[in-house]
């Protein structure tokens, strides 16, 4: 064997030995990372358990549990932050072991962005949302879209908001589909397009999201983006109303009151108005008051009528304020009180020009009240 041959053989031998060590280290690396990822997954699960416990705790103390509203759940969750502190610690440990875990990134984002169990930090929260969003996690894409929409943690940018809503919507996230639909409906970040809005509302509505069902019903009722169709409108209002969505309960009440898409029925109108009214819908409170006032679908009852006008008036409904004023003026359902009558009349007049034209004691006003106030 010549010297150069020996050299070549030696180099080849060394090379083989090196690759052997290299292969071993590649295997060790894979196994170590696998272990770290498994451990991170454990922390993730543990953290989620704390969040879940928190949610159950809040659900038991929440008089109006609305499953679809994660925001409400978090708002309530602020009451006892200790469980979120535990969760945050778990997620932080997990992300140290696996910095690319989208779930961990997303939850760190949520806790930071909403200040749950940790000092609120919009910027840091949005950064984590982005990390997870770029890895394709729909919930993170949606939250990042929300951050852009509200300008919390990022510079407000409706085009970016629509971009991320779209990403999440395309992956089938109902909350993102409705938000993307709203973007089209209001032309925020995308060119206004009712047909597109209707399409995205429908996707979310078909997934059972009450907000979307109501909005789709509204598009059908008004013939925007779809061919006008009261039957379809009533169909979606009903679905949404049955999902305890107040606005839809009011709209469905209207459908019964006006016989739009359903057979006209004041009793059912009163039923749905009452549901919405009890949830605080001012429009429904006003409509329900009118039904009591007119004795439509319910026994005529001045006290009830005035009670609901009062509720609606307190929510700023101008028509209800006017009628509450009249009720005080004539002492219907409340003790007669000209001062109160004047006060509510003025409030109504501040909002609606037509009320400003009329004054108590005017023959016009008296005539108006007499015509609308059957003895």
């Amino acid at each position: 064997m010549s010297e150069s041959e020996k050299q070549t053989a030696l180099i080849s031998l060394q090379h083989t030995a090196l690759t052997k060590v290299g292969a071993k280290s590649l295997v060790a690396r894979g196994r170590a990372e696998l272990r770290a990822r498994e451990e991170a997954e454990e922390w993730f699960k543990k953290g989620l358990e704390f969040c879940q416990k928190k949610r159950e705790l809040d659900a038991s103390t929440n008089p109006h549990p609305i499953a679809t509203s994660a925001r409400l759940a978090f708002a309530l969750a602020r009451r006892s932050p200790a469980l979120f502190e535990e969760a945050f610690a778990c997620f932080e440990r997990g992300v140290q072991l696996n910095p690319n875990h989208p779930g961990l990134q997303f939850w760190l984002g949520i806790l930071l962005h909403q200040g749950l169990g940790v000092q609120q930090d919009y910027v840091e929260g949005a950064t984590w949302y982005r990390e997870a969003a770029e890895q394709g996690l729909p919930a993170a894409q949606f939250n990042l879209g929300d951050a852009y929409s509200s300008g919390k943690g990022v510079t407000q940018d409706h085009a970016q908001a629509a971009f991320w809503y779209c990403k999440a919507a395309e992956q089938g996230l109902a909350a993102a589909q409705i938000s993307f639909g709203y973007a089209y409906a209001f032309g925020q970040g995308v060119a206004q397009d009712d047909a597109q809005a209707a399409q995205w509302y429908r996707k979310a509505a078909e997934q059972g999201l009450p907000d979307a069902q109501n909005s789709l019903g509204y598009l059908y009722a008004s013939g925007r983006g779809v061919i006008q169709d009261y039957t379809q409108a009533a169909f979606w209002y009903r679905k949404s109303a049955e999902g305890e969505f107040a606005e839809a309960q009011n709209n469905f009440g209207n459908a019964y009151a006006h016989g739009q898409g359903v057979v006209q029925d004041y009793t059912l109108a009163a039923f749905w108005y009452r549901k919405a009214a009890e949830q605080g819908s001012a429009a429904a409170q006003y409509s329900l008051a009118n039904l009591y006032h007119n004795g439509q679908g319910v026994t005529r009852d001045h006290t009830e009528a005035t009670f609901w006008w009062c509720k609606a008036a307190e929510h700023g409904n101008a028509d209800a304020q006017w009628w509450l004023g009249i009720a005080y003026y004539y002492g219907k359902g409340v003790p007669q009180d000209y001062v109160m009558a004047d006060l509510w009349y003025r409030k109504a007049a501040e909002q609606k020009e037509k009320y400003a034209l009329r004054k108590f004691g005017d023959s016009v006003c008296d005539e108006f009240a007499r015509l609308n106030w059957p003895e």
């Binding site: 292969a23 280290s25 590649l26 894979g30 690319n100």
Partner: protein, 258 residues
């Protein structure tokens, strides 16, 4: 008379016969153990090959992008620390590349046929170095055993048959002279085989503790549960490759604008 034809065995002869029986039993056991060890090694090598081709190659790609990013940073920052970091990243990328694309990565799946196993068992029994009668015999057997192991790992049935055929024609197992010498030799063989069986058990235990074996065990469990562990590992590295690629692109365009 019968007693003239069948001589009664002396105690030494009885002892020798019993030891030879034991030897035969142990030789069979040893062959089984050698088969187990050779199979384990071949399976691990095959898994390593698969791992390196699928996961190792991705690590090499990841390290390559890491090195590029470090080099871009060094170019833009120009500090000695950044340069040192870039050089280190480059070395790691090169090491990962040669490891992921070396010989070990070429090993193909190991799927031994029953025939291959039977041939190996037979060959192992007949050439095993620990049944050697002297040092010269031992050297010859060690060489043969290496060939047998290589043929088995390569799944080469013909090579095993050739080795077995060669044994038939070679002058094998020259008997020693005298019963005492025979007994001593058999006892020595017994000890050698027992030692070897214990050594194999230890080696199997050690092999099972390696990262490779642990990873393979995990992959096997995952497969029975209907998922592909290597695919999951690939996915996890792929995410990082994509993210770092993105950073490299950002860096190189921002560098260009300066």
């Amino acid at each position: 008379m019968k007693t003239d034809l069948v001589r009664r065995l002396t105690p030494e002869e009885e002892e020798l016969a019993a030891k030879r029986e034991e030897l035969a039993r142990l030789e069979a056991q040893l062959a089984d153990q050698e088969l187990l060890l050779a199979s384990l090694k071949a399976e691990l090598a095959a898994f390593e090959g698969l791992y390196l081709r699928r996961v190792g190659a991705l690590y090499a790609e990841l390290d390559e992008w890491n090195a590029r990013l470090a080099e871009l940073r060094a170019e833009q920052a120009g500090t000695p620390e950044a340069k040192a970091e870039a050089a280190e990243s480059r070395t790691q990328a090169e090491e990962a590349y040669s490891a992921a694309h070396g010989e070990a990565a070429e090993v193909q799946p190991f799927l031994p046929s029953p025939e291959l196993k039977a041939l190996y068992r037979e060959a192992a029994k007949r050439v095993h170095p620990d049944t050697a009668i002297d040092e010269k015999d031992r050297a010859r057997r060690e060489r043969l055993m290496k060939e047998v192991n290589a043929a088995y790992a390569a799944g080469d049935e013909d090579a095993l048959r050739r080795i077995l055929a060669g044994l038939d024609s070679s002058p094998d197992a020259v008997q020693g002279s005298g019963i005492g010498a025979d007994l001593i030799r058999v006892l020595r063989q017994l000890k050698q085989i027992r030692d070897r069986i214990a050594a194999i058990e230890l080696e199997i235990a050690n092999l099972s503790e390696t990262d490779l074996a642990k990873l393979k065990a995990k992959a096997d469990v995952a497969a029975t549960e209907g998922h592909d562990l290597l695919e999951e590992m690939e996915a996890s590295i792929n995410v990082r490759v994509i993210l770092i690629k993105h950073k490299v692109e950002e860096k190189s365009t921002s560098g260009a604008s300066i």
